[in-house]
């Protein structure tokens, strides 16, 4: 786009693709592709729809026929799941824990990545590789000792304990991802900020951090999903503490055993799934963008 005078009409004229003739082969490939993708989409959607529909049924209705619509759209399953089974308070706990951990890990991770990416000092490579090692080690290995670390500092079975552990385990990914991002920001800007008299702190918070916003958004999305879905950490170090959603859901499903209120179970699952799903549908464009950003370096 070198010329600024081109009018919208000219542009649209320029980009109007010629309608290519479709060959029979194209049609076949298109049909096969559409069929395959449609089948997969159905495999994805049907279980979700079925769960949603079943969340309005009574247990006997569910067992009578898996397909029949509920005789009436009753919301008492949701009331039961939300208050009696405690999904409501678990939900709130999850929001608090994941929200706090997310904010903390984004700030700390950005700071750490910034220092590692923009300053060379003895040991900086070593720290970077230490972070990388944390990415590949299975969380499982750490759970037993972690249990006692938290016990010793009195944070076992507490939400703050959970938050700080979430921060620790989300840190390597955050640093690793933002490292390359900060590395790519031009050095001249730091120099300009220094010439203008900004100290290290101000340079970071007022110049670099705002520039890193797109990268931060991508990492935040993935961290959110990762932490929201986290299951092993809470069941290991928060088993007797105030439950988070994933933990509470498992307990609810387990405690029911055979004694059955399946409608309420489906309602609980729906409550867990739907909020994130809605957020995803709204922000899916950004998310697709961040996946590509994270992989095409």
């Amino acid at each position: 786009m070198t010329t600024k005078v081109s009018t919208p009409e000219m542009k649209s004229l320029h980009f109007q693709p010629r309608k290519p003739a479709t060959t029979p082969g194209d049609k076949l490939v298109g049909a096969v592709s559409h069929t395959a993708l449609t089948i997969w989409s159905l495999i994805v959607i049907l279980p979700l729809l079925w769960t949603f529909m079943s969340s309005f049924k009574t247990s006997s209705e569910i067992f009578a026929s898996p397909f029949a619509l509920p005789s009436q759209w009753r919301f008492d399953n949701y009331v039961k799941a939300w208050s009696e089974a405690g999904i409501g308070s678990y939900f709130l706990n999850s929001v608090v824990v994941v929200g706090s951990a997310l904010v903390i890990v984004m700030v700390l991770g950005a700071m750490c990545a910034y220092v590692l990416a923009r300053y060379t000092f003895p040991g900086s490579r070593a720290i970077y590789y230490l972070m990388l090692a944390g990415l590949t080690f299975p969380i499982f290995l750490a759970m037993v000792p972690l249990f006692f670390v938290l016990k010793n500092i009195g944070l076992l079975n507490t939400l703050p304990g959970l938050i700080i552990v979430y921060v620790g385990f989300a840190l390597p990914f955050t640093v690793f991802f933002l490292f390359s991002f900060f590395k790519s920001l031009p050095h001249e800007i730091t120099e300009a900020a220094a010439l203008d008299g900004a100290g290290e702190w101000r340079t970071f918070f007022q110049v670099m951090l705002p520039m890193a916003k797109p990268g931060l958004a991508s990492v935040a999305i993935f961290n959110f999903l990762g932490l929201w879905n986290q299951f092993l950490i809470p069941v290991s170090i928060n088993a007797a503490g105030p439950r988070v959603l994933s933990q509470g859901l498992a307990a609810f499903a387990g405690q029911m055993g055979y004694a059955v209120d399946f409608g309420a179970l489906f309602a609980a699952v729906t409550v867990t799934v739907v909020p994130v799903l809605i957020v995803y549908v709204i922000f899916q464009r950004q998310l697709q963008g961040s996946v590509s950003q994270g992989t095409s370096k």
């Binding site: 693709p17 290519p20 003739a21 479709t22 082969g25 194209d26 490939v29 298109g30 592709s33 993708l37 449609t38 997969w40 989409s41 994805v44 279980p47 769960t51 067992f63 026929s65 898996p66 397909f67 700390l108 991770g109 700071m111 750490c112 910034y114 220092v115 944390g134 590949t136 299975p138 499982f140 290995l141 750490a142 759970m143 037993v144 000792p145 972690l146 006692f148 670390v149 921060v167 620790g168 840190l171 640093v175 220094a194 100290g199 702190w201 299951f231 092993l232 088993a239 994933s246 859901l249 499903a253 399946f262 179970l265 867990t272 995803y280 899916q284 998310l287 697709q288 996946v291 590509s292």
Partner: protein, 341 residues
């Protein structure tokens, strides 16, 4: 930047005049400034704080786990005796743990391959399934498929497990409902998760279901990063769709594929959540028991922390071996030298 630029050094001189007299003689090397309070506090907070949390809550437990694995510690006894590699000997002669390890190995072999092939096929269809004339195009409405396929990735694994547990339910489940509805009456009351021949396959399908969409989006991003000219050139040279996919697409996104393979493999070595949700007891004949479940049980139910830590070490070593293998194989077959996770 080792080249000394005269202009640059003059700039630095100018800066030094502003800096207090304690500043050392100005050198031409860049970013060598005197330690100020600003700088010291900056490093202490920016590097020290995250690192402290990371070391205390991530690295230190990992290191401790190796130590514990050499003791007979039960967690609550005040003493822990050093027993060398006895725990490891016990693990490897424990039939149940070996069974669990075998299941993990099966998962590591099957899950990445199935997930990657399926998502690669779908991603290819989405990106280059359009007309073979004119511009390279994706299918129409392809973004719909992409958005929908990604759904499972936003659902907590435990919710996926519970949901599928209900779908596989022998009498009230969706799957048997569909199958009997199609006239396949032998599946009436068939317990998919209760039969040792089907439990593992059914479980693996759930995991694949959860991840295909994510890797599809990842591959779509990778394919879109390939310059369109390459596809056009291949087309002009007469390459068909299959040929293009095999000879152009796959080699050019092999780094993405490697990343996907490693992530999926690490997940397969864990798989705790899915197994716990679908068959918390390890399934019929322990057919879906995985190492992580056995570790969890040993540690938090039986209180044998020394033994559980040894299992954790085995799991970690298995993960490292797996990642190493993928790297080596990818390198040997001509992959990129750079590691990009």
């Amino acid at each position: 930047m080792t080249v000394v630029k005269t202009k640059q050094s003059r700039n630095d001189d100018g800066l030094a005049a502003v800096v207090p007299a304690m500043a050392p003689p100005v050198v031409v090397r860049r970013r060598r400034k005197p330690l100020t309070w600003d700088k010291v506090s900056f490093f202490a907070v920016f590097l020290g704080l995250p690192l402290a949390i990371y070391l205390l809550f991530v690295i230190w437990p990992f290191i401790q786990a190796f130590g514990y694995s050499l003791t007979d510690w039960s967690g609550f006894s005040p003493t822990q005796n050093f027993i060398g590699f006895d725990n490891y000997a016990r693990i490897f002669s424990d039939d149940i743990f070996m069974k669990a390890m075998g299941n993990n190995i099966l998962l590591v072999i099957v899950l990445p391959i199935v997930t990657i092939i399926l998502s690669l096929v779908l991603a290819t269809m989405v990106t280059v399934g359009g007309s073979s004339k004119g511009q390279i195009k994706g299918l129409r409405n392809s973004s719909f498929y992409r958005v929908v396929s990604f759904f499972p990735y936003t659902i907590p694994a435990i919710a996926i497990g519970i949901m599928w547990g209900q779908i596989y339910d022998p009498s009230g489940g969706l799957l048997n409902g569909i199958l009997t509805g199609m006239g396949l009456d032998q599946f009436k009351d068939f317990a998919w998760l209760g039969d040792k021949n089907t439990a593992m396959t059914a479980t693996m399908f759930v995991i694949v279901w959860g991840f295909v969409g994510f890797y599809m989006v990842l591959f779509v991003a990778g394919i879109k990063g390939i310059p369109a000219e390459l596809f056009e050139a291949a087309r002009i040279d007469g390459a068909g769709r299959l040929r293009t996919a095999v000879s152009i697409t796959i080699p050019l996104i092999r780094d993405n594929i490697q990343t996907a393979y490693i992530y999926m493999g690490i997940l397969a070595l864990d798989a705790f959540v899915y197994m716990a949700a679908l068959n918390s007891g390890g399934g019929p004949d322990n057919s879906t028991l995985v190492m992580a479940q056995q570790l969890f049980f040993t540690a938090f139910s039986k209180g044998q922390f020394g033994l559980a830590s040894a299992m954790g070490v085995v799991l970690a070593v298995a993960t490292l071996i797996f990642s190493g293998l993928v790297f080596v194989i990818n390198r040997l077959t001509g992959g990129d030298k750079d590691v990009s996770i």
